[in-house]
Symmetry: C2
Subunit: 324 residues, 2 copies
């Protein structure tokens, strides 16, 4: 079973969402259209819209309603990526040039602002104040997480807890509320919404951990950017923190990180990547991701045995083993 | 009569709003607190909160409700200023160092994102979908306006119409909806809300024109930053466009603008400022600002003769003659 098989069941609705994504960023401003469409065409897994749709299956499934949640979640995600690329000095993402490299930092910043504003416009089509409150809370947390990331750049003394809190803010919240708000918009009960929130939160944590693992031991082809991008910009991720816990490796790793920092993104990170791969850090991080997946699946206990539940479980397993 | 006299009538409520502004940006993140409080302490005229309060006087005035509108309007304004400073490469604003100069561009970008997210959090306390829709529409327009500004940098062929559309998006919309939403939140009739919107729109246009005039013929002490900042960054404003319409001045002005562009913000803009001051451009821009003020006051026709109406008219006149 591949993720594409799960997606194929929702192909029509996802195509509908894709169209809505495109029309939602349209404006009479040529450059904004260009940058926004560039971002949309660069693709992405659309995992947030998929979760919105699947969660909507536990209430009154109405695509016209759910579409607004799905599109705004994906747009918020995209907006945060554009701003991340400004910070990360990233030249490519998903194998495509970033807005900041194709245009410039200012244009990337305002494209992010614009897409974010569009996301709000889409979600205000839904009347429930609860939806707006949940969304704005998640956005505040995301922006704190973005700032946190800067503070912890090259901070080798940070704890695993610091890391987990950061990825919670950066990634897990938005995936959690994608699941939750799909259910809220479909009028599901509070208990169902809560289960889906917890599912999304745990999948989101696993998703980011796997993403961080891939940056350390994936190939450029797999991840659409050169491996080691995280450490080059100072982002110390879970496998590295685990590796640093080994007293026999710590001294060498700290030296390597320091020289990467001094090289300001220009140095060769291969020796560092090899050292991390040799340490048990990658394995330990993968194990923790698997535990999050287990918790995600547990969170679904008590939900009716619908196709959507099976699909959520399949996606969770897929995220747990992802190598794309 | 000074603006401070009008403000003094609402001193208690404004102090209340100031407190709410401070508490609304609080987080357990030290750097975000620091940057946000730095921005708040840098001050500002708080004209948007004042308009929200005055508009609220034409419905059921309830400070607890209006406060949410006032605070979110001011936070959106502040967030857009921080992002503007990134683009403008501004070292000071209102006589204070900018976030980007005191910290850096990345921190300024994320501080803007954070303050913006907080603004949304505050406004979601209000249940009316109409408020969220009006606000998100204005935010989309603002972000288009920000991008427009970049496109028109050093673009001497732009029309007065291009300029007016840009300042409408950049400034007038947010002031217009501050007036409108104060009335909406207070439950005023659609006709009252509409009059206040038009008042705010026209005052906002005048406000930005006067701001742009001041950048050309004010002193550093008056405006809190060196005069000529606009042209240094390529922002061609109304007095310049009017001056360029004079065939006898055009050639010299184009040469001056070109050499300012080539100097990349380092050159001496005094000769250019003097040329603009000698042209009739400043006078014509001031005249247009006055016409907007007249229209703003006309828009209030038919509103009940309350103290708030008198104060709105006074503020409008003040904006029309501003030299602060």
């Amino acid at each position: 079973m591949k993720i594409i098989d799960i997606y194929s069941r929702y192909k029509k609705d996802l195509a509908n969402i894709e169209k809505e994504l495109e029309s939602s960023v349209q404006s009479d401003h040529a450059l904004l259209n260009e940058t926004s469409v560039h971002l949309l065409k660069a693709g992405g897994k659309r995992i947030r819209p998929v979760f919105v749709l699947l969660a909507g299956r536990f209430g009154n499934y109405d695509l016209e309603t759910l579409k607004n949640v799905a599109v705004s979640m994906e747009l918020i995600h995209m907006a945060s990526l554009v701003h991340d690329d400004v910070i990360d000095d990233a030249a490519t993402r998903r194998g495509q040039p970033t807005v900041k490299s194709k245009w410039d930092n200012r244009i990337a910043m305002y494209t992010g602002d614009y897409i974010f504003a569009r996301a709000l416009g889409v979600v205000t089509r839904l009347p429930q104040p609860e939806i707006h409150q949940i969304m704005s809370h998640a956005i505040v947390e995301m922006s704190v997480g973005e700032m946190e990331q800067i503070r912890f750049f090259f901070h080798t003394g940070q704890t695993v807890r610091d890391y987990l809190l950061r990825i919670k803010r950066k990634t897990a919240y938005l995936i959690a509320i994608s699941c939750q708000l799909g259910a809220v918009a479909a009028g599901a009960s509070a208990s169902v919404c809560d289960k889906l929130y917890r599912f999304g939160y745990n999948v989101g944590m696993a998703f980011q951990i796997r993403d961080d693992v891939l940056d350390l031991n994936g190939t450029e082809q797999q991840i659409g950017k050169p491996p080691g991008s995280d450490i080059k910009q100072g982002n110390i991720t879970l496998p590295v923190l685990f590796a640093l816990q080994d007293p026999q490796r710590k001294v060498l790793l700290l030296e390597q990180i320091e020289s990467i920092r001094e090289a300001e993104g220009q140095g060769d990170v291969t020796p560092f990547l090899e050292a991390i791969r040799r340490s048990g850090g990658v394995k330990r991080a993968e194990d923790l991701a698997s535990r999050y997946i287990d918790r995600a699946i547990e969170a679904l206990d008590g939900l009716p045995a619908r196709q959507a539940k099976k699909d959520l479980i399949r996606i969770a397993h897929f995220v747990g083993n992802r190598s794309y």
